[in-house]
Homo-oligomer: 138 residues x 2
DNA sequence: GTAACTGCAAAATATTTGCATCCTT
DNA sequence: AAGGATGCAAATATTTTGCAGTTAC
């Protein structure tokens, strides 16, 4: 599992450091999204706040994780699917955010329907975020 | 036009003050979304930053404007359609954000397709945000 | 006149940057 | 050994809160 995580880092030309392994592990063991604060908490404040910012930013740049736009404009991160590349994300799945427990689900199996835009508009990215109550909270 | 705006405020049990009229006017004359900074700029720094925060918050609570989740997690606000009520928004239209010029369009005529969620999940709000280049920038 | 709204000051949060030190390769 | 990554300090930026003065009704 750690190997797994290290692989991902190496594949992206990133040196394998503890913070990166730990944070990436978190995402792996969490089929959902994490906020900066979640990461701080789950790593037991082991890493500097700044390190987490920089790690997340690096991961986003490399296409390892992506941000999720939320209705309350908090910043969430989630693991990318395999077909993401640096600078080019393909996370066309739907995100579900539970208003009650705050958990964010990546609904990988649901794909975002094609949107027919007005003439002249070119799409590069589409986000579909559903809010409500999840099965545990409903 | 000002009457128009005042009407909306009265209908929502808000006293008609200059800041509220000016800010609501901005939205009326701008079929797009505005960020906090846009409002500051367009009102010529006439109003305190805090007043703008509070005005926007009030508008959101009353269902006059709604926030738009964006891929870069900046905070955007746009006018609600008529069928919005306090605490219950129905802005099921698609938003388009131009990466180039930064303009946000409310594509009112396009409605968000129904999403069939996993068993037990209940939807209360859905946001569909498309990013790319608008017709002017493409 | 009273309740609601605004502006100012300041606190609380969140994010970014510079730099010296430490770790990975 | 060299380059990159981290931690700390501090600079910025963003948002919230308290309170006194002002305005709308």
């Amino acid at each position: 599992m750690n190997t797994d995580v290290s692989e991902i880092l190496k594949r992206n030309q990133l040196s394998v450091t503890e913070s990166r392994r730990r944070i990436l592990d978190l995402f792996k063991n969490n089929n959902g999204a994490l906020a900066h604060a979640d990461i701080e908490k789950h790593t037991g404040e082991q890493f500097d706040r700044v390190t987490i910012y920089r790690t997340l930013q690096t991961f986003v740049e490399k296409g390892i994780v992506h941000t999720i736009p939320t209705a309350d404009n908090s910043v969430l991160y989630a693991l990318c699917k395999d077909d993401c590349e640096p600078g080019h994300h393909h996370d066309n799945h739907i995100h579900f955010i539970c208003d009650q427990c705050g958990t964010t689900y990546c609904l990988d199996h649901l794909t975002i329907p094609q949107v027919s835009l007005p003439h002249g508009f070119r799409e590069t990215r589409t986000d579909l975020v559903v809010s409500g109550k999840c099965d545990k909270c409903a």
